[in-house]
């Protein structure tokens, strides 16, 4: 992967000036490359990575395994596109194995998520079954541990 993308993955707020120095190039070049990635759809957005467990919110998250019937034309894509339109669905993946789609869903309460599954997802044409698992705690997300690592305990000066 391009080193620029690596750096942005680690810290999307890194300034163009710092990125330019890290990569040994100019700020204009950095801006142009980011713009090109956005244009090509490689970069789909920049978001903050939150530890929601530390926020004063009652939001609940669930992981839902979905078995769906593939269509003759289009396979899983059409059903997936429909499901993806629901704002409750934060992430969705096509999987190999015992089920087809894996959904990460957010709701204001347990009830709300349960309703979403029973009233919106399960009745959809092509959905064969659902299995819902509520998430209890986030330990790691996007490669980042939610509890910080032990601080730098190296000697302050050493050979």
């Amino acid at each position: 992967m391009d080193a620029l993308l690596d750096l942005l993955k680690k810290n999307a707020r890194e300034s163009d000036a710092t990125l330019a120095k890290l990569l040994g190039t100019t700020e204009q070049e950095v801006r142009a490359r980011i713009a090109a990635y956005e244009q090509e759809g490689v970069i789909r957005g920049f978001q903050a990575l939150l530890n929601t467990d530390r926020l004063d919110t009652n939001d609940v998250r669930a992981v839902i395994e979905l078995r769906i019937r593939p269509e003759r034309e289009g396979g899983f894509d059409r059903v997936a596109a429909r499901i993806g339109k629901f704002p409750q669905v934060e992430s969705m993946y096509l999987m190999s194995g015992a089920y087809d789609l894996l959904l990460f869903v957010k709701g204001a309460s347990l009830q709300e998520v349960a309703n979403f599954v029973s009233a919106r997802l399960a009745p959809l044409d092509g959905v064969l079954s659902t299995a819902t698992h509520f998430m209890l705690k986030t330990y790691k997300d996007q490669g980042v541990l939610m509890e910080s690592e032990p601080h730098d305990d190296r000697l302050q000066v050493c050979p």
């Binding site: 890290l22 302050q156 000066v157 050979p159």
Partner: protein, 394 residues
């Protein structure tokens, strides 16, 4: 009750008493205990030891692999190191007789000196350099002979400088590239010229290549890759820097059997063997650590770019080092000595760097900045240094 220091007998040997304290140690005492200091004075990776390596060490303890190993080191580890040497430098070392696993490169270097030096033997070593070489040469009753390297040569060691210092008493030549504290590296022409020099004067070469894996450009040019040097080379390497395993204290030496055997004699009486747990971790590192090294190396590489660009931008001349995780900017334009600069930077801006003079007299006028530190503190440190340098100019 206190002892009267005047009448207390002094048991310390004169050659130890006369050993100067490390200049780094001096500086450490000043920095120690101070909070909110950003330290660029740490010659140690900031990365945690890769988890798969730590996990193997834990597993070694769980299954009870906690006993002495062979004096030379665990056979599997020596076999893996022989394979590593073959793959990295196309050289063949016999794992049964030519590889010795040690407690870090420091022990390996100490063993090498004690195994080959007779009192009065001279050892050529280049400055600025790692602080342990000259004292260890002295402790082995040898005579350390510094050879200067210069900014104009990007701190590469030249044969011309060596020729000025070689005498009939010269026994060995010590090399450390990629270099601590300058980040200097050698290219192929350099290693060839140094090999010729060593052969011409019948010298043993001790090459400490502990930063070899952290080479960013220009390729790795090891003394071990020169076949005609083989019978006069002690190659030293370790796990601390490349695999971020400093606390495991694990290194190794590769040398012809008679030299390995001589070093092993001292090692077996003084040390027995390196920690068996560390050896298990080292085996995992050398077998499966390539991806972890690559990731850390990429990160150092980018940080080096950032630090060199930042230093040059603020007016501190700094060449682009190709290896290790140090940059060695000149602070001569500020008119301060390197110690004054470092002390004021520490006291007024809470940034710690090591004055170049701690690494040899010719390091005066320079500063060692280690970039083995996270990007956020690194950025902040560069900002503070810039403010300091600007303030000095007014």
């Amino acid at each position: 009750m206190t002892t009267d220091s005047k009448s207390a007998p002094d048991f310390v040997a004169p050659h130890v008493r006369s050993l100067p304290k490390s200049g780094i140690r001096d500086f450490f005492d000043i920095v120690a205990g101070r909070k909110d200091v950003i330290s660029l004075g740490i010659g140690e990776p900031d990365f945690q030891t890769p988890w798969h390596i730590r996990e193997r060490a834990i597993e070694a303890i769980e299954r009870g692999a906690t006993r002495y190993t062979s004096n030379l080191g665990a056979p599997e580890l020596r076999q893996a190191l022989a394979a590593y040497m073959r793959q990295s430098f196309q050289c063949d070392y016999d794992w049964q007789h030519e590889i010795l696993v040690t407690v870090g490169v420091s022990e390996a270097f100490d063993l090498a000196m004690r195994a080959v030096l007779s009192p009065g033997d001279e050892v050529l070593y280049h400055e600025p350099c790692f602080v342990a070489y000259a004292p260890l040469i002295r402790m082995a009753h040898g005579v350390p002979v510094p050879v200067e390297t210069f900014r104009k040569d990007d701190f590469r060691l030249t044969v011309a400088e060596l020729e000025k210092k070689v005498t009939p008493r010269t026994r060995a030549l010590l090399l450390n590239f990629p270099n601590n504290p300058t980040g200097a590296t050698l290219d192929r022409a350099d290693t060839e010229a140094l090999a010729d020099f060593a052969i011409r004067h019948n010298l043993l070469v001790i090459s400490d290549e502990v930063y070899s894996e952290l080479t960013y450009e220009g390729g790795r040019h090891s003394m071990a890759a020169i076949p005609r040097l083989r019978d006069r080379l002690i190659f030293l390497n370790g796990f601390s820097k490349a695999w971020s395993m400093t606390g495991f204290r694990l290194g190794y030496a590769c040398a012809p059997a008679p030299l390995t055997d001589a070093m092993m004699k001292i090692h077996q009486f003084g040390m027995m063997c390196a920690s068996s747990i560390s050896q298990t971790a080292g085996l995992e590192a050398v077998r499966h650590g390539d991806a972890a090294i690559a990731e850390m190396r990429d990160s150092y590489h980018l940080r080096r770019n950032f630090v060199v660009a930042s230093l040059n931008e603020m007016g501190l001349d700094c060449f682009m080092p190709r290896g290790a995780f140090y940059v060695f900017p000149s602070i001569q334009s500020t008119g301060l000595s390197s110690k004054e600069f470092a002390l004021r930077l520490l006291n007024e801006y809470n940034v710690a760097c090591v004055p170049g003079g701690a690494f040899g007299a010719c390091g005066e006028g320079f500063l060692r900045c280690a970039y083995a530190t996270g990007m956020e503190p690194l950025k902040e440190a560069m900002d503070r240094m810039k403010t300091f340098v600007r303030a000095l100019a007014h």
